[in-house]
């Protein structure tokens, strides 16, 4: 799979990364719970979610929202980029079937020990509602640095 590599020099504060848009369905909720050994009923038992925990439907796992937001970053940084720092807060829930978008904007860049570091503001959203705000730092290769 050929992927284009983004370099430190090409990135500027204010740049927006490509937005990842995902509508999580119940199959995906199930497979993510299985892959993370998560038995919490609110992700598969509608009756429990409604009558015991007071939600309208089964809800998307916070860690799945976080993983999708990280995917928006790792899809962009290419094979030679590296996720260095990743911080998110769970602010609001999402239900299966809702369209979610994962957005990232460059807020700064700096060189540290000959490594190009890029800071990002990141967010998982449903329409205008921010479900999961956060920040991340990635290391990007420098042009001419082929090591």
């Amino acid at each position: 799979m050929a992927r284009e590599q983004v370099f430190y020099e090409d990135v500027h504060p204010g740049d927006a990364l490509p937005t990842l848009t995902v509508t999580v369905d119940e199959r995906q909720l199930f497979f993510f719970s299985a892959a993370t050994y998560n038995g919490h009923r609110i992700h598969y038992d509608k009756d429990w979610a409604r009558t015991v925990e007071g939600y309208d439907d089964v809800i998307v796992q916070g860690p799945l929202q976080a993983a999708l937001l990280a995917r928006a970053i790792t899809d962009w940084i290419g094979g030679r980029g590296r996720l260095v720092e990743y911080a998110v807060q769970n602010r609001a829930i999402a239900f299966a079937g809702e369209e979610l978008s994962f957005t990232c904007v460059v807020t700064g860049k700096r060189l540290a020990d000959n490594t190009g570091l890029v800071d990002l503001d990141i967010a998982g959203r449903r329409d205008d509602t921010v479900l999961m705000p956060g920040t991340a730092t990635v290391a990007l290769p420098l042009r001419g640095d082929r090591s």
Binding site: A35, A70, R71, T74, G79, R80, Q89
Partner: protein, 166 residues
Amino acid sequence: MTEQSLIDAESASRVGTVAATATGEVNRRDWQRWAAAVGDHNPLWFDPEYARAQGYRDIICPPLYLQYVVLGVTALDGLRPDGSSGAASGGLAFPRAPRRMAGGESTSFFGAAYHRDEIEMVRTIESIVEKQGRSGRFVLVTWRTVYRNQRRELVAEATTSMIARP
């Protein structure tokens, strides 16, 4: 009038102590199942030739998967009624603030994890403080979690928080 603290003495005494330790082996099929469930088909997780061309010695574990490598096994009758295992919090309970929700998580990643690496996790209770929010008082618990591999190299370090409300 002095309100009673939401933090009981037993919980308060555990600040600075180890809440949980666990070990686990990194397994490529497990992380690939996780990646597939995320719809994340990054060739670094799947394609050894691609990963080697990027300077790695083999495919690597997705950074966000690392936290699941050390998950243990819970018997069905050891589950909470809601189906969760409850292991991650180190059994902290706040009788005066029983409603809990995940706060946030901040992780620094230092190196790649490979298939069959042995990861050791040590989670320490960093702080337990009572705060006043818009919707009333709550307890904020913060853990610090360190992940090392079989060579004692630091792989990742995470700060996690939980909110408990009356």
